[in-house]
Amino acid sequence: MATFPAPAAPLLSAHRLAFTRNDEPVFGPLDFSLGSGETVLVEGDNGSGKTTLLRVLAGMLPPGEGEIRFSGRAASRDSRNGRILWLGHRPGMNESLSARENLGFLTGLYGTRTGVTPVSAMERVGIAGWIDEPLRTLSAGQKKRVGLARLLLLPGEVWLLDEPYANLDRHGIELVNALIAEHCARGGAALVTSHGAVRFADPRARHIHLVA
């Protein structure tokens, strides 16, 4: 059932990756790789292309130039889908449904990480008491925590987290860092964007600097 990537091939690698919008370069060309257990922090000012980079890696935008590989295979829907978990600016969940209903639907699409249930994931992010409330009654920070519960619950080696620290208090920021550390300890990898205001936990994490 479990498919292990060949040791030589990183989970995710980019070669001469660049993106242009209306003939204006947005970022790149970039070369980087993300191996099992590694975290890469993407830094840059507003508008420097952090979100665009993540969307290109997730396959939501076609790369302008260069190449993306997943476990050594050229990126395609087959090599990518189900292996990426995406946490973006938008919640990815319906506001009229409760966290339990939203997470239940997503596990129907993605499957479930062994040993995790919606309840245990919500407990881990500290808002188990809100599991049956419609998401619209939750605060922005609580919604972000439901998004973190989604990361815990769904299988997927590569986490692409776009500004995961936004809207979170100090404990929430520590929670994000702890979750990323656990995920990397399990053999996963994470690519995290931040505009640099937040101290990042793992001192060994590599940085990619994007300049507007």
């Binding site: 396959g59 499957g111 399990r186």
Partner: protein
């Protein structure tokens, strides 16, 4: 609390250890989600129904009490009412999911996007169109539709409305990224709806005048089968474009 969760997570040592989701289970999960969501907003579900009943009830008043005239036009009027009642809901088929980022999650899921799109069309049809067909005997009575024509009209609608919903899903996905897409969708859909209405009305008119009505129904069925195969693929491509922008 945190420590128990920690131990649970510690049990999954390899990140790829997971129960994968089958495509059938994914469709079931999507259907269940859409039904729960529709039940939360069940007031909106009655709007097309209410619209159809009001229009059908107004026609006899506007045309005057002439049972024969009503019987002659009833089939065509009911078809047009159903098509128009379907239009407003078509626009919102993917809108909410695009706005809240759910479509991003669809795109990255290990499921065929076309299958999810087809499931969404089925859920949409069951919730917004099927009630219209269920009340068709009542609407037919309001408009003095001959009883022998009613079954043909219902069969024609059962073939024509899924076809329109499938065509509408492609257009809805294309227009999802645009602002005020409602009027755009209507303009794009109406040319496609014309042949569907012509064949459905042809079957009803043939039944009314005692002629064979199977051929137009067969044309509708053939078009429906073609649409079931092709429309979800086009819809999936349109959804990818909608997420890109």
């Amino acid at each position: 609390m945190a420590s128990t969760a920690q131990s649970i997570l510690g049990g999954a040592s390899v990140v790829t250890t997971a129960e994968r989701a089958g495509s059938f289970a994914a469709c079931r999960a999507l259907l269940r989600r859409d039904f729960v969501l529709a039940w939360r907003r069940r007031g909106e579900l009655f709007l097309p129904l209410l619209y159809a009943v009001i229009v059908a009830a107004l026609f006899p008043f506007a045309l005057g009490p002439d049972p024969e005239l009503l019987a002659r036009i009833a089939g065509g009027v009911l078809l047009v009412i159903v098509v128009l009642a379907m239009l407003p809901a078509l626009e919102s088929m993917f809108r909410a999911d695009l706005d809240d980022g759910t479509l991003e999650q669809w795109l990255l899921a290990p499921q065929p996007l076309a299958l999810l799109a087809l499931t969404r069309v089925i859920a949409h049809w069951l919730m917004t169109v099927l009630p219209l067909i269920v009340v068709m005997p009542l609407l037919g009575a309001l408009l003095n539709l001959p009883v022998k024509v009613l079954p043909v009209l219902i069969v024609a609608l059962l073939l024509a409305t899924p076809l329109l919903a499938l065509l509408g899903s492609v257009l809805s996905a294309l227009a999802a990224g645009a602002r005020r897409s409602g009027i755009l969708l209507a303009l794009m859909l109406l040319p496609l709806a014309v042949p569907v209405v012509i064949f459905a009305a042809g079957a009803v008119a043939a039944a009314q005048s005692g002629m064979p009505f199977i051929a137009p129904l067969m044309w509708l069925a053939a078009a429906l089968i073609l649409a079931i195969v092709l429309a979800p693929l086009a819809c999936a491509a349109a959804l990818r474009i909608a997420v890109e922008t």
